[in-house]
Symmetry: C2
């Protein structure tokens, strides 16, 4: 992790998809940079000291891992690290860092937006407008409504703060039950779904995808929710048993869902979610504000500077947990 151990210019592999990272000049001045797509990743990894997974949804890293012969650091341009959290990396000494913080406030705005879209019936207004129909309806208030945010990391906290500022009553759900949390007040224990889901008007899923959270929103979870509850997923599609969600929406076990993430992305054309009433589908974009790509490169560039200077990296992931533990964000 200390670049000065290595007297040569370090080699950085950058895994890109459709887009190349913008403005890598600061990094390029301090490293031999090998931009590659998934096919070229093994060759690019051979002899590389660091890997920047800019194409953060790529699943190419495990299959190229055999070529990582001197890798010391892997940085991913996302908050969720599940695409690179495979046994080979977990068991290695390679440091894993993420882009925690970049998406927090944009995702919070998105969640507040879909909550208001449900309360004010925007989708129906849109359909009626397309039909040229003037049909007055009453709408819901959001002030005073109960929200449970499942996931108490920085994105969940940003959501809690914004929804609370808008007058909603927010609690959290995380690994450990506690009170007096600065953002959530009460944090429920995620596994005790039956206790906290029945009180929520909105349930927001933003937990990291781990063995503990995978499929946690299943038939039992939806059955515990109010028939008037709306489910919002801005975390990972695999947090949800999709067939159970579809059944819960069909049976009116819950009243609606706003889904920005799916277990298969892009959402397949034959998914019933596309056409279900009371379902808002968006293409994994909730955090992707104008300028996000530049911000992602800025976050990487700062960590690269620290790496070269031998300073502690920011956002070091606890590979056994699958996320950055709170208080472990590095200096600054």
């Amino acid at each position: 992790m200390i670049a000065s151990e290595n007297r040569e210019t370090p080699v950085l592999a950058v895994l890109c998809g459709e887009h190349r990272p913008p403005d890598m000049r600061a990094v390029e001045s301090g490293a031999v940079v090998r931009y590659t797509d998934a096919a070229g990743l093994p060759e690019a990894l051979s002899g590389a000291d660091a890997l920047f997974v800019y194409d953060f949804l790529s699943t190419a890293v495990p299959g190229a891992w055999h070529a990582a012969d001197r890798l010391r650091w892997l940085h991913i341009a996302s908050a969720g690290v599940d695409p690179v959290l495979f046994p080979g990396l977990v068991e290695s000494d390679v440091i894993l860092t993420n882009s925690r913080g970049v998406f927090d406030d944009a995702i919070a705005e998105y969640v507040l937006g879909v909550v208001l879209a449900f309360a004010k019936d925007f989708a129906r207004s849109h359909d009626l407008q397309r039909e040229g129909r003037w049909l007055h309806r009453e709408s819901e208030r959001i002030a005073g409504r109960q929200v449970v945010v499942v996931g108490t990391g920085p994105i969940g906290r940003a959501i809690a703060r914004l929804l609370r500022a808008a007058g909603m009553r927010v609690s959290g759900a995380g690994r450990r039950e506690r009170t007096g949390d600065p953002d959530f007040g009460v944090v429920h224990e995620s596994s005790q779904l039956d206790e906290f889901l029945p009180h929520a008007d909105y349930v927001v899923a933003v937990a990291p995808l781990t063995e503990h959270t995978k499929g946690m929103f299943d038939a039992r979870a939806f059955a515990a929710m109010k028939p008037s509850a709306r489910f919002v997923n801005v975390g990972r599609g695999e947090l949800v048993v999709t067939s159970d969600l579809v059944a819960a929406l069909e049976d009116k076990t819950i009243a609606g869902a706003a889904l920005d993430v799916f277990d298969t992305e892009p959402l397949p054309p034959d998914s019933p979610l596309w056409t279900m009433p009371d379902v808002l589908v968006s293409p994994h974009m909730s955090g992707d504000f104008v300028g996000w790509r530049n911000t992602l490169v800025e976050v990487f560039t700062e960590n690269f500077r620290r790496w070269q200077a031998g300073e502690p990296l920011r956002n070091v992931v606890d590979k056994s947990l699958g996320y950055v533990p709170s208080g472990n964000q590095g200096a600054g």
Copy 2:
């Protein structure tokens, strides 16, 4: 205004449209109540001491005014009093009160919702969902964006507080320029459009409809706005020169509009606003939360109690201004 002057049970006319006011029992126990539609209004007004205009969009009052032979009080179930502010009423001694306060927070939520709908491109997501198309886009942040709220009454203030809580930068526009306003900070002088409109990302119209505000959003006003600005009207349709708004949207002088009110309601089928891209049409419902009709009756009932007890009425409209001046909301 002092019921005790009149030893008999007072007569109350209630102008209803499609809906009758719910739960008038408290009022009915203290008055002879004549429920009427527009056609029966002259007969109902004859001998009536008070008129409750529950059908607040009705334009029937001026035509029935000749029959108001002993009317002392008119209460309207809306914030805007323009439908009843005709010369006969203005010049009379009849006290006019409104339903100020009922709609404030619901309208504020609605405005925040349409701001987020624009920023997060919900209308396009909805259309893409209907087509089954997965198309990633970047979205805008709302934090830090500039909003000018034109209208500094209680609805405008509720909008300012909520948008500010969500991280936006808000100023107001009203009759008098001032600073240090508790909700707006800076209040611009409404007539100086050219000075404050060029800085706004969102312009929210919520001024009362008076001779000073009628048609204030005209070609000149839209020309003063940024090409990226969105215009939100939750006040009255007549604040806007609709043909100028349509032209500004067609020419991309501004980027979009969310319109809950129109100069003709229902919006006529041939209005181009129904089908314009970047226009969100809703049917005058922004303040009409579930329970609003009961709340309107509660507000009237409290004023009726005060009227009978000889106490000062709440929300007395200054008929020369066309709204309730600040600080003139009655006791409590």
